[in-house]
């Protein structure tokens, strides 16, 4: 299928069609179709090992799909050169360990790489962009600090800063708040939401997904099980289907967003 309607095509940031990926003869992604419109904040939810990370890696060319097409602004991602893709897609993946220490500002400055040719140094403009990115992640006072000594939340903010310096209007994020405490989870998502760019993010925590996402895709066993707004997707019935967990779903009076309370088996049995 090609994008037939030009008007629809112009609103689309990312379009994925019939994506298949297998590793060691095991099908990990099976015939996935999804889209992200410009300016949307879209979440991918699903159990561990369902294929969320693999899907994202296929989109940012970390892995090569067996078949299927990924359109970025109407252009086939696999036919673009790596630098052109890097100017359009910013990625925060799960890799955040480095063998050698760098300073915060050095890591953020790496985001300028796709704009640089051989031997190019950092221009005045690059330095401005990097300084702005560091300010956005609230690390101006720590710009000379060493990355290895930072806390988990600070590291994640630095990686986000690198992506900001990359100045892309699409962010692909793979559980950006994994292993962070609640304060930092909200801080990171508020920051991302405040950027006003298009976001596709794998999110582990359903309540967080409900708070920030415009739409959700549910991935299970390598397939897209459901898609829709958080209200449509996150019902106690669907949550049981996806995770096998009983829950109580309500609209929170303050946030006006879906809020989920899990009902553990031990408590339910106690009631009977």
């Amino acid at each position: 299928m090609v994008i037939k309607n030009k008007e629809v095509g112009e609103k689309l940031k990312l379009l994925v069609e019939n994506l298949n990926f297998s590793l060691n003869e095991k099908q990990i992604i099976e015939d996935m179709n999804l889209y992200v419109s410009k300016g949307e904040f879209v979440g991918i939810i699903g159990p561990n090992g369902s294929g969320k990370s693999t899907l994202l890696k296929n989109l940012y060319r970390g892995l090569k799909p067996d078949s299927g097409v990924v359109f970025l602004d109407g252009e086939n991602v696999y036919k673009m050169n790596p630098k052109a893709v890097a100017k359009k897609i910013g990625v925060v993946g799960q890799e955040n360990v480095i063998p050698f220490d760098f300073k915060v500002e050095e890591i953020v400055a790496m985001g300028r790489s796709p704009y640089k040719g051989f031997f190019d140094g950092d221009s005045k403009k690059d330095k401005e962009i990097v300084a702005n990115a560091i300010e956005q992640i609230g690390m101006s006072v720590m710009e000379k600090r060493n990355y290895i000594n930072l806390s988990g939340g600070e590291k994640q903010r630095v990686l986000l800063g690198r992506v900001l310096a990359q100045q892309t209007d699409l962010l692909l994020l793979d559980e950006p708040t994994n292993h962070l405490d609640i304060q930092h989870q909200l801080q990171i998502f508020d920051l991302i939401k405040g950027l006003g760019v298009t976001v596709l993010s794998a999110i582990h925590d359903l309540n967080l997904a409900a708070l920030y996402c415009d739409r959700l895709y549910v991935v299970k066993d390598g397939r897209i099980l459901m898609a829709g707004t958080p209200e449509e997707v996150l019902t106690s019935q669907s949550i049981y289907e996806i995770y096998g967990v009983r829950s109580d779903v309500a609209i929170h009076p303050t946030t006006k967003k879906v809020t989920i309370t899990y009902l553990p088996v031990s408590l339910l049995e106690g009631d009977n």
């Binding site: 970390g62 910013g90 050095e106």
Partner: protein, 351 residues
Amino acid sequence: MKRNYIQKIINQDEPNMKIITILLLIVSTLSILFSIGIGPVSVHPLTVIEILFSKLPFLTNENNWTQVEFNIVWGLRLPRVLLGMIVGASLAITGVVMQALVRNHLADPFILGVSSGASATATLGMLFGAFSIFGTYSLSISAFIGAAVTIILVYTLSRVNGRINVTHLLLSGVAIALMMDALTRTITLSAPNALGLHNATFWMSGSLAGAKWGYLTLPLIVAVICMIVLMSQYRALNALLFGDETAGTLGFNVGRLHKLLILVASLLAGVTIAVSGSIGFIGLMVPHITRLLVGSDHKRVLPVSALLGGIFVVWTDVAARMVIAPEELPIGILTALIGGPFFIWLLKTKK
């Protein structure tokens, strides 16, 4: 006061690259001048300078030196010291490249068996003329082939699910080094000429003793070209430290980059080992010390490592010819004596 000044220059926050580079260049020049004079027969540094100046055109003044001194300075020590600079720089850079390639600070051409691989094919070429079709450069090319084969083997063996596994890396390095050393021994024992044993011992222990002017050209050209190529890729080398996927998302063609780094490391290691045998641990120690001085940015690590590596090898070579003078100790034995403990220290202090 003075201490403050030193701290300012070697400041982790803003390493002043101009001053550091100039300082290192001065130290390199002084090292060359002084180390030429030191040896079983010592020559005064001023005499060394006079002899060197006499080689410049239009500067013919009276000779204050003996013919023996001239022969030692011009014919023996100067090529040896210069070769030491080139070899040290090349080995240090090889270490930097391999560490970026496998994302580990323990990578070094000697530890990962690359030196052994290069020695094996070099011996094969030397004793059986296996690569004689390449003429004058057959030795360098045969060492390059051995280095390349080993790097590719170690790199492939240590990748588990697309990631470099440190245990696999070190163990496959050890296994391949042992296999290659066995191969070298087999070749030397079955060698058709009696020179074999002596020459193979040379490869395995490493030495700059046989340096001639003719040995300098190829290693120098290769070192300069590789350095230029690497400096043009310094951002890619930095990005690679975050992992292949991250480097990819920053716009680098990771597959091509890995091939380039394997080629560069093999060239540097092969050509160097062809002229000096395997001098170990330079690629491990020098980049590590460099990072302590100027941080991890490859834009700074590459040139500083090269200069420090050269200085380090020149002075270790001075020690090699002085320790049991007039006999010579192969420099490789000395670097192993220093480098071995250094490796263990790194292994113990870093996770």
